[in-house]
């Protein structure tokens, strides 16, 4: 081990090397936790069967159902009916795969089921210093705990199932420094939308990001997860935050958290993880939290974002031809004019959910703004908790009553309209303010148009029926 100052990323990387990188082969990393869901795993299990292989470490693997699952209400038997035959087949196959290979799995509607990136942290499975992978690009979420976590393809899902290892070339590191204090009404989501607008959707390609600075330190774990979640939208496979007391307090007492003496040992080890003084980063970007205001996207990738008070950029001012083409195409799809303001733009749907913003704190914030108010006529608002546990917690706190009283739909847990695989989708031409992470063409339903924003912006927009700056509707006790 070198005595040079190392980054958080390097420490986690170094401690997971099974075989070092050579001129002929990539490094082979040991994987501490492999999360599996129904959509990106079937072909990997097929590979195992074809080759007569077992899952090497089912005890380091966990399955959940989330992507293609319905979020419609339960029937009289307390069961969530799956009406889509293809989805039903995929879910059955997933159940069989987990059973055959001995993998614990959270089935649809059961107590712990939920979006894969919500349940890991919720169960205390996501811990500092671990390597975590999943056949899902938003695995970067788990980096909020100081884990090295990233999305992999289905072939790699097969590799990890069979060997508990993964081939990787060592990525570069980028320090993302966010100093200052967020103003009231400005949230973690606005920070990450601000960062992506700055670096672009490909700006992080080849890098692992480490988010640092006073604004990151003062965020809750759920805020840090929101930020790390969208690292992939800047092209980075992983984003990390150094663990601190906020991290440890969040993990303490969760079902899979270490207990007693093991806890003390774990925390002592975790305290050695933060980047050393003077550690080298290959690149650095900064964002001033003091100056940040609520952000919103106007285009068809998450990098096409702006302060909510801004105007849609004019393709004629684009720096390159490619950029002009992309912007023209995006505005045509979005039905927007150059120099148009988004504030006041009429909307059809508001979606509160996804692995970016469906945790209990997101729902609490949303409910606090919505309390005593109504969703505007003609606006459909869906609230989709990230997990069954989040749902139960919210119901215990009465949040669901606030949502329902306001006219919003309170649904079962899952990915839902973030990816629109399960029937929760926009109709062609509809505008949505969504707390999810992708505004790609058709992402929320063919022809649907997505404005990505924070839960506060989404709720404020639901109340007014148009894109609204949440600071206008700000409730003082929310500060």
């Amino acid at each position: 081990m070198s005595s040079n100052p190392r980054t958080l990323f390097e420490k986690v990387w170094d401690s997971h090397i099974v075989k070092a990188q050579t001129a002929d082969t990539p490094a082979v990393l040991y994987i501490d936790l492999h999360l599996v869901h129904e959509v990106t795993s079937p072909q990997a299990f097929t590979l195992l069967r074809e080759r007569g292989l077992k899952v090497r470490r089912p005890d380091k693997t966990l399955g959940t159902m989330d992507h293609s699952t319905p979020t419609t209400p339960r029937n009289e038997l307390g069961i969530i009916p799956v009406v889509d035959a293809e989805a039903a087949k995929q879910l059955d196959q997933f159940t069989k795969n987990c059973q055959d290979f001995g993998i614990p799995m959270y089935a649809l509607g059961t107590e712990n089921q939920g979006i894969v990136h919500v349940i890991g942290p919720e169960q205390g499975l996501t811990q500092p210093g671990m390597t975590i992978v999943c056949g899902d690009s938003h695995t970067s979420t788990h980096g909020a705990f100081g884990a090295l976590a990233f999305g992999i393809g289905t072939s790699e899902v097969g590799h990890v199932l069979a060997t508990q290892t993964l081939m990787q070339y060592k990525p570069k590191t980028m320090a993302v420094r966010v100093d200052g204090k967020l103003a009231a009404g400005v949230t973690a989501k606005d920070i990450i939308l601000g960062i992506i607008a700055k670096i672009g959707v490909g700006g992080g390609t080849g890098y692992v990001l480490e988010y640092m600075g006073s604004a990151i330190r003062s965020l809750t774990m759920e805020g840090r997860m929101t930020i790390c979640n969208m690292s992939i939208e800047g092209g980075a496979r992983a984003g990390m935050v150094a663990p601190d007391d906020t991290t440890f307090n969040y993990i303490a007492g969760r079902p899979y958290a270490p207990k007693g003496e093991a806890w003390e040992e774990a925390v002592a080890a975790w305290r050695t993880l933060p980047s050393d003084e003077g550690a080298h980063f290959d690149a650095e970007v900064t964002l001033n939290a003091d100056e940040l205001i609520p952000m919103i996207t106007y285009g068809t990738n998450p990098g096409m974002g702006m302060p909510i008070t801004g105007v849609v950029p004019d393709p004629d001012n684009a720096k390159t031809v490619d950029e002009k083409i992309a912007l023209d195409k995006a505005l045509r799809y979005m039905g927007l004019q150059p120099n148009e303001r988004l504030l006041g733009k009429k909307i059809d749907v508001v979606f509160i959910g996804s692995c970016t913003n469906s945790r209990i704190s997101d729902l609490r914030e949303a409910a606090r703004m919505l309390r005593g108010r109504k969703v505007a006529d003609g606006v459909r608002m869906l609230v989709v908790p990230g997990s069954q546990r989040v749902k139960a917690q919210a119901e215990q706190e009465g949040l669901h009553e606030i949502f329902k009283a306001a006219g919003a739909e309170w649904r079962e847990a899952g990915c839902s309209m973030c990816i629109a695989m399960n029937g929760d989708q926009l109709q062609p031409g509809q505008y949505a303010v969504s707390t999810s992470n992708r505004n790609f063409e058709g992402r929320q339903g063919k022809g649907g148009r997505t404005f990505l924003a924070s839960p506060l912006t989404a709720v404020a927009s639901a109340i007014n029926g148009c894109v609204t700056d949440p600071r206008e509707l700000f409730v003082p006790e929310m500060a």
Binding site: S15, V18, A23, D24, T25, V28, Y30, D32, L33, V39, T40, P42, Q43, L47, L53, P58, D59, K60, D84, E86, K89, Q90, G102, P104, L125, Q127, D136, S137, G151, I152, G153, T154, S155, E156, G158, H159, T163, Q164, T165, G202, T205, G235, R237, Y256, P258, A266, N301, G303, E323, I325, A326, K329, A420, M421, R438, F440, E441, G442, R443, K446
Partner: protein, 202 residues
Amino acid sequence: MEKITKFTGRIAPLPINDIDTDQIIPARYLKTTDKQGLGQACFFDWRYHADGTPREDFVLNQPQYQGATVLVAGHNFGCGSSREHAPWALMGMGFRAIVSSDFADIFRNNALKNGLLPIIVDEETKQQLISLAQEDPETTVTIDLEAQVLILPDGRSVTFPIDAFSRYCLLNGVDQLGFLLSLEEDVAAYEASHPQRVTTTV
């Protein structure tokens, strides 16, 4: 896996930056449990109107580009999700290589594991290929994996980067899993010296 050494094919131009995997294969087609038939869903929402009729202005629907095996696309191709359905769909549509100035990480990884070559060229070469394909759809390029070059119609060769391991696997038609399986002893040794903390099966 089939061995890949050298092939020649016609090119289709798709000069759009940041083509994301939701365009390459919309999520509603991910409810499959195998890899078959995804070619029909490739670029579905760009290929078809809401009523199911083909969009004639979409380049891959135009007769002159049918049978093209090399797609030349804008930078950061394949951004977004980790779905390996994206390379499966592109291959299902008949593509053997994608040429761009830059690829999203996960897409590139996934493509290499399936024998779909992600070929990175400089901006100028990319633009040249796009113009050539637009002017003459019969234009062909040769991709020589052994020599790691893309050969343009004027005979100019452009070297492209590819990691030694992926290249070896593709040239020999072996999948990458075999290498990991051969490391069983190393993995066991790692496990023995790194006691685990987290267990999902309690």
